[in-house]
Symmetry: C2
Amino acid sequence: MRCDLLAVGTELLLGQIVDTNSAWIATQLAAMGIDTMEQRTVGDNEERIVTALTEMLARADAVIVGGGLGPTQDDLTREALARLAGVPLRRRPELEAHIREVFAARGREMAVSNLRQADLPEGAAAIPNPFGTAPGIRLELGSGAGSLAGKVVYAVPGVPDEMRPMVTRHVLPDLVARSGTPAVIRSRSLRTWGVAESALAELIADRVEAQTNPTIAFLARGIEGIIVRITAKARDEREAGALLDAEEAVLRARLGDLCFGRDDETMESVVLDRLAARGWTLAVAESVTGGLVTARLTSVAGASRVLRGGVVAYATEVKRAVLGVRAERVVSGPAAVEMAAGVRRALGADVGIAITGVAGPELQEGRPVGTVWFGLALPGRPEESVTVRLPGDRERVRQFGAISLLNLLRLRLDADGGNPGP
Amino acid sequence: MRCDLLAVGTELLLGQIVDTNSAWIATQLAAMGIDTMEQRTVGDNEERIVTALTEMLARADAVIVGGGLGPTQDDLTREALARLAGVPLRRRPELEAHIREVFAARGREMAVSNLRQADLPEGAAAIPNPFGTAPGIRLELGSGAGSLAGKVVYAVPGVPDEMRPMVTRHVLPDLVARSGTPAVIRSRSLRTWGVAESALAELIADRVEAQTNPTIAFLARGIEGIIVRITAKARDEREAGALLDAEEAVLRARLGDLCFGRDDETMESVVLDRLAARGWTLAVAESVTGGLVTARLTSVAGASRVLRGGVVAYATEVKRAVLGVRAERVVSGPAAVEMAAGVRRALGADVGIAITGVAGPELQEGRPVGTVWFGLALPGRPEESVTVRLPGDRERVRQFGAISLLNLLRLRLDADGGNPGP
């Protein structure tokens, strides 16, 4: 099964927005074992949409078209599909009623042009849109399309929030059904951090090689780590869940503490959950990262139950006056420990963590760019410092330093309370 | 002149990385008045690269190919170009010497496969790569390409840092020269903040309508504002500079303080420069933004000459104990002023700024999500608070709040020292 992707939108051709939809859909298809060989973008032009689809469907079994389903005269995907299929557009009364209801519910006037969204090529099926007025379209080409008969086109909106549920709930299952495999497909993501993709692959090489169902894929997420994605095909939800549970158990045993969470969990949400479970509050002292650690933590709704706050001690005098740092060198292990203990005391928290280092472009205190010290002050453990040398430029050292500190705290929280080692 | 774009890379088809290059190149082409009608992505497959180029060049005058120029067996753009042109690949001694020099300078062993990067299709020109070993390729198709003779292909690396200077310095001038317009093209970006694109367009509508040379384009940058880009074509550098200077003066007079900077300047770099010019230091108190303001400021190399640090006062008790906030309600004007004055005092800075507010998802102190108060404490001005109601979800309120505070400080620094408005 080969399914290629066509994005429609003049704003994409002008570079006014970056097409993130194609990459997202591509990862979904890859996880299902469906091939994608071509992605294409054309403007809001009926002729060019038809030409692109004709060329693409000559090679692919299916094409997903994103965009061009809105209510304005610029939105021409419906017209292009009808022309491709050699059939007329027909207004669907049930879709018209839905659009009128949505506007009435929002208490807004409806321009007549909105009803264009109720027009579908004859023989097409509507894909429900829970978050907007424009339905998606599933169109299997018939004899009117000549040599393309039997191929299928899915049209989805360009708005990511409307597109994603349509692809997940309707397009992917339909593609999977057409490829002759069972109907229920479920995925689970294990989130890992602190290991290269090649080393990760080696750890679970036999599972990856033996994979038939569930399948296992790696998705690199830059400084956020690598996702190990497990995808199971089954006859029903329960069977899929059982397959995922079994594979997750095997993989977690191998991955150990490299795996920090699952699905929507982030490093910061996991750290906050772990602290909340112990009833501990947190304070953060930052130098080199300049607020990135607290910014990550406060991105989680409900962070206030754990996080008391932080001090960005950028100037040396602030480290001394506010955090009580006495160490002569402020990029050092002793300084990092004093920062952690100092912010814990100053903000009245149970746990204090700290980071100091050199982001560049220049050396500091003779230490090379990328030198970073972490400080930890946790109840029932000796205060400690850990140092690493991070690669990359200023922004990468800062970003990497921030998540590294959170990961270090996670490891300590998971370890035996009295065990000082990593 | 129509120039379409082809991205090559299996990792793009798998969705492992998002193609940001195409959007970037597209904005550059649009600024030059060169049309783009199609963008396409294919994998690392010689056959499919040739097919794509053949189809694309049947419609376009030129195609820019990104990616597939590396040293591994996966990198097949060179082979595809040679096949398309119906010519052999030839190793260029001067390119081979350059590659050997780069490795020698880095003190690294060179695998023989790296010399593949010295192979160019016969008749092609190398595009210098100041940041890597792989040269770009400029190939005008000859009689060996049949009906495509006279069309031109540019191949550039997929790595953005290597691709961008090649496009700016070589590909764009070459395209412009081919389209028969003068040889020197220069752009300047005026960065604006705090105004909608429609309102901005209205302010300078007559300049936009009258544009022939320089031309004026708008580039929306989300919460970072809107860029007004001026592009001049001229016979030489001096003439281009004079055209840009004249248009910039007219636009700046219209835009007033909506324009915060030029080209690579950011809101945070501008604020730091303004403070440095007065010899003032800065301290930041944050609640709702949780460190985003200081994280932005510390992203600028050299921020330490101005920024002393910040306090993330997330818990109410931290606002009271560390910053000395006495106001009963902590999401209020009086609290914002006390935070600004408190952090200025605690960190020993000349200027204190603060933000408190409600990011959601829940109300706080009965205030709706998006309610934000800014506090300012500057030398020679009364302390003041400003409130706004920001739209959007939690992350948007936080991001928008952070840049809004920096913009407010910029406006105050630019205003008369004794003037408390606007």
